[in-house]
């Protein structure tokens, strides 16, 4: 069988540097090839080169051939002229991108954005194009397609927008669909829907798919063949089962070892660090103490944000961000708050530290109510609770040396130690001591997150709130930081409130898990109980949607459809019902439906 696309010795440069050095692989008709790699691997540049879009971003194809098998015979896209490329783009190769929120032109209707591509490639009248656009929206299963045609992008949810972008890419029945991280910005349930949709369209139309991703779990779910890239080179290619079962390249092995797999903690009593390639230290589980000692007790915590509007911009409604949330976190343990975007998990963490002011409830830390403290007393209490933020690039002051940033909390609380203590903290987070004189921009993302951890440890807190602390990191770096956090917990008897959207990571690190939905905890219990015996419908939906990094367990067939999450905005006079729970096991409680 001749390849649909044959990439041969591709070399792409940006200015002086080569982003893609020597890349060769084929895509056969009707197959899904996943290009996987971490940031800087050149996977996106490869796909943009195939579309010859890389030139618009300042890149240049320096060498190599990009042969597309067209009906009129093979053609090297690297040398094709502008007119030919315009026929191929959207006509023979469709492409979808990462950010559904910015992928559509905000000032044009959906109809216009669907039809102008169609009419570019096919001689259709306005009516015919409109009919075809409607057909396409039905094909990507958008609810109420007729209405969508007249709408503007901002009126659609992220998932719907990504469906529209797919419809645009599918408009002229391309023989190849390039998907560049199409689900990275989406929630896990929407991700599952979109992956299932791409799979179905591929089956029904027989097109090939070139799928770019950093997520090995997604690869396992969707790929026929896999191309692993690292720093501009292909390190390994092979069928998906082969790659996962017998990775040959060192890099692939390390990558796979760093990926937490949902379900692999089954039967284990306590969280344990990931076993990484090249790290031969013994892996010790984090067994909690026999008699749990409560550290943080949250009772009926409620946080609402005003929605301003109307004449004179009065408060017209409220976002019920956190609604009657109660849980207990024990000393030396990790409790995870898990849920999709907008579920209130971050607001909950910030409310506990009073970085936002809750409306009601109580938060006891070692017996003292955080919410009852005066401002100076609160400042004093903050010594016992620290926070690590998501974005390692924004959570450090770019104009301050790291030493000043690490010692700042100590100065605030009059703790002695200064530079010596800061140096010890760097030892603690496995960074060289001379980093103290550096500025944040001289560090990588993972190193910055280690600095953020060192800064949090500076005042020896008993509680650390980690808000999506590893979400922005590449998977191998993520694994190292997770291991570090677990190590610190074992050594320093730390308690973590671990806020995350990633079920597999949560399963790995938690003693207890609370699943949040629309501001409430819908299910809470020991990690094993929640993951192995989920009771609430939403927990089950989440578990069903999470891709598993194992090609033997595929679950994205058929047409997945999850219930969309309703809005958490309510009128001012709305009186929500209290959260009432059924106990279904030891410490395992499920929200009673109202």
């Amino acid at each position: 069988m001749t390849a649909l696309v044959s990439i041969d010795k591709l070399r792409v440069g940006f200015g002086g540097a080569a982003a893609v050095k020597d890349v060769s692989f084929d895509i056969a008709p009707g197959e899904t090839v996943c290009i996987v790699g971490e940031s800087g691997s050149g996977k996106s540049v490869t796909s943009l080169s195939l579309m010859r879009l890389v030139e618009f971003g300042g890149g240049e194809i320096l060498d190599g051939r990009l042969v597309l098998d067209r009906e009129s015979g093979p053609l090297d896209l690297a040398r094709a002229d502008t007119e030919t490329m315009q026929q191929i783009r959207g006509g023979e190769i469709g492409m979808i991108f990462q950010e559904p929120m910015t992928s559509l032109n905000p000032v044009f209707t959906i109809e216009r954005q669907l039809t102008d591509g169609l009419r570019m490639h096919q001689p259709l009248s306005a009516t015919q194009a409109r009919a075809r656009a409607l057909e396409l929206l039905k094909e990507v299963r958008i609810p109420e397609p007729e209405r969508r045609l007249r709408q503007y992008p901002h009126e659609l949810s992220g998932g719907m927008r990504q469906r529209v972008v797919i419809a645009i890419a599918m408009a002229c029945r391309p023989r190849l669909l390039i998907a560049d991280e199409p689900t990275t910005a989406l929630d896990v349930t929407i991700q599952a829907e979109i992956l299932a949709l791409i799979n179905r369209l591929k089956r029904e139309t027989g097109m090939a798919v070139m799928f770019i991703t950093h997520d090995m779990a997604v690869v396992a779910q969707i790929a026929d063949r896999v191309v692993v890239m690292y720093r501009g080179d292909v390190v390994e290619t092979g069928p998906v089962a082969e790659i996962f079962a017998n990775p040959r390249a060192e890099y692939t092995r390390a990558l796979l070892a760093a990926v937490p797999r949902l379900g692999e903690m089954k039967g284990k009593a306590a969280p344990e660090p990931l076993r990484l390639v090249g790290d031969d230290r013994a892996v010790t589980p984090l067994t909690p103490r026999a008699v749990p000692e409560p550290l943080l007790e949250v009772r009926n915590l409620t946080t609402r944000f005003p929605v301003k509007g109307g004449v004179l911009r009065r408060t017209v409604a409220q976002v019920h961000a956190v609604e009657d949330v109660s849980f207990t976190l024990n000393k030396g343990e990790t409790l995870s708050l898990v849920g999709e975007s907008g579920c209130g998990k971050s607001s909950c963490g910030r409310s506990i530290l009073r970085l936002v002011e809750p409306v009601s409830g109580s938060v006891f830390l070692g017996g003292d109510d955080v919410l009852a403290q005066t401002k100076p007393a609160l400042r004093a209490m903050r010594r016992r609770m620290q926070m690590i933020f998501q974005d390692p690039f924004a959570s450090l002051n770019p104009y301050m040396r790291l030493q000043a940033q690490i010692t700042e909390p100590m100065k605030n609380f009059g703790i002695d130690g200064g530079i010596e203590k800061a140096a010890e903290l760097l030892d603690r987070v496995d960074l060289p001591r001379d980093y103290l004189r550096r500025f944040p921009h001289e560090l990588s993302g993972g190193q910055r997150q280690r600095i953020a951890i060192a800064r949090a440890l500076a005042v020896s807190p008993s509680l650390i709130v980690a808000d999506e602390a590893v979400s922005a990191l590449d998977v191998s770096v993520q694994a190292q930081v997770l291991n570090l956090m677990m190590e610190l917990q074992a050594d320093l008897d730390l308690s973590f409130l671990f806020i995350s959207h990633d079920m597999a990571v949560v399963e790995r690190v938690s003693h207890h898990v609370a699943v949040m939905y629309l501001g409430r905890i819908v299910e809470i219990g020991p990690r094993a109980a929640v993951f192995e015996n989920p009771q609430h419908a939403y927990t089950r939906a989440l578990m069903a949607a999470v891709p598993i990094a194992d090609p033997a367990t595929r679950k994205l067939d058929g047409d997945l459809r999850f219930k969309p999450i309703p809005s958490p905005i309510f009128p001012l006079d709305h009186q929500p019902a209290p959260s009432v729970y059924d106990t279904v096991g030891q410490n395992h409680r499920v929200l009673k439906e109202v």
């Binding site: 933020f389 959570s395 700042e408 605030n412 005042v459």
Partner: protein
């Protein structure tokens, strides 16, 4: 494309340096007597060896007057921008960092002042106070304050919402320390850029005020006054307009280029 050592950076920086040193050393290089010396036989004379840039309607040497004009122009514009920074910085930082009702009140006031075109405001203040050297500074300074306060407030607001400020708050940092260590260093680069561009605008404003007779007063040298005086002799002595006009243009161009380059170099949002 970044760095000072691009064509634009060298040119802009060079002009700024040149104009600043001329302004600084003009009184030493050009004794007052030279610039006020009237050569009645050589009124409105074209460029010559004795007068490289020609003379004005009173036979005064245009090059000397242009150099002295640089001094008053830079002095007035610089002090005025400094004045608006001294007022605008605390206003903007307090407004942006603390927010709340104070922010609402201050920004309402600033928005109201912004409805007055800056030149109109400066002219009115100058006319009301009586045009002279000090009042020109005050007039331009007041007229520019709302612009700077608005920009500084926006920057302070942006920085106040950054995770590192929240992290510092969670680490027990108080408001004063927060402003000194976290907010000010991070808003400085855009403010320096803005101050450079404001300096360019202030030079244009000073020239405009003097041109209308509501800024620097004769017999002091000023580019705006020189252009004003040239109006009646354009046909016979166009250089009387070209010399001060070119001086303004080159100075402002240099400052604007310098500002553009500073923005590229200093702004962390543009630089990666």
């Amino acid at each position: 494309m970044s760095g000072f050592f691009t064509g634009k950076g060298i040119f802009g920086g060079g002009i700024v340096l040149l104009v600043l040193s001329v302004a600084l050393f003009a009184p030493l290089l050009v004794p007052d007597a030279w610039a006020t010396q009237m050569d009645m036989r050589a009124r409105l004379a074209g460029p010559s060896l004795a007068h490289p840039m020609g003379t004005d309607q009173l036979g005064r040497d245009l090059m000397y007057r242009m150099l002295l004009g640089a001094q008053s122009s830079i002095l007035i514009a610089g002090t005025a921008v400094l004045m608006s920074l001294v007022i605008g910085l605390p206003l903007g930082v307090i407004s942006g960092y603390f927010g709340g009702w104070l922010d609402n009140v201050l920004m309402r006031l600033v928005d109201t002042l912004l409805a007055f075109p800056a030149l109109l405001l400066a002219l009115t203040i100058s006319a009301v106070l009586g045009p002279n050297f000090t009042n020109t500074i005050i007039a331009i300074g007041i007229a520019f304050t709302p612009y700077l306060a608005r920009i500084i407030r926006g920057e302070a607001l942006r920085v106040a919402q950054m995770p590192y400020v929240e992290a510092a708050r969670a680490a027990g940092t108080n408001d004063l320390w927060m402003i000194v260590r976290h907010v000010l260093p991070n808003i400085m680069p855009p403010i320096i850029v803005q101050a450079t561009i404001s300096l360019a605008f202030a030079i244009l404003a000073e020239a405009g005020l003097s041109f209308l007779g509501l800024g620097t007063q004769p017999p002091d040298a000023s580019w705006g006054l020189m252009i004003q005086a040239s109006r009646d002799y354009l046909d016979i002595a166009p250089w009387t307009a070209l010399v001060p006009g070119a001086a303004v243009a080159i100075t402002v161009l240099g400052l604007n280029m310098f500002g553009d380059v500073l923005r590229d170099v200093l702004d962390p949002r543009v630089a990666s």
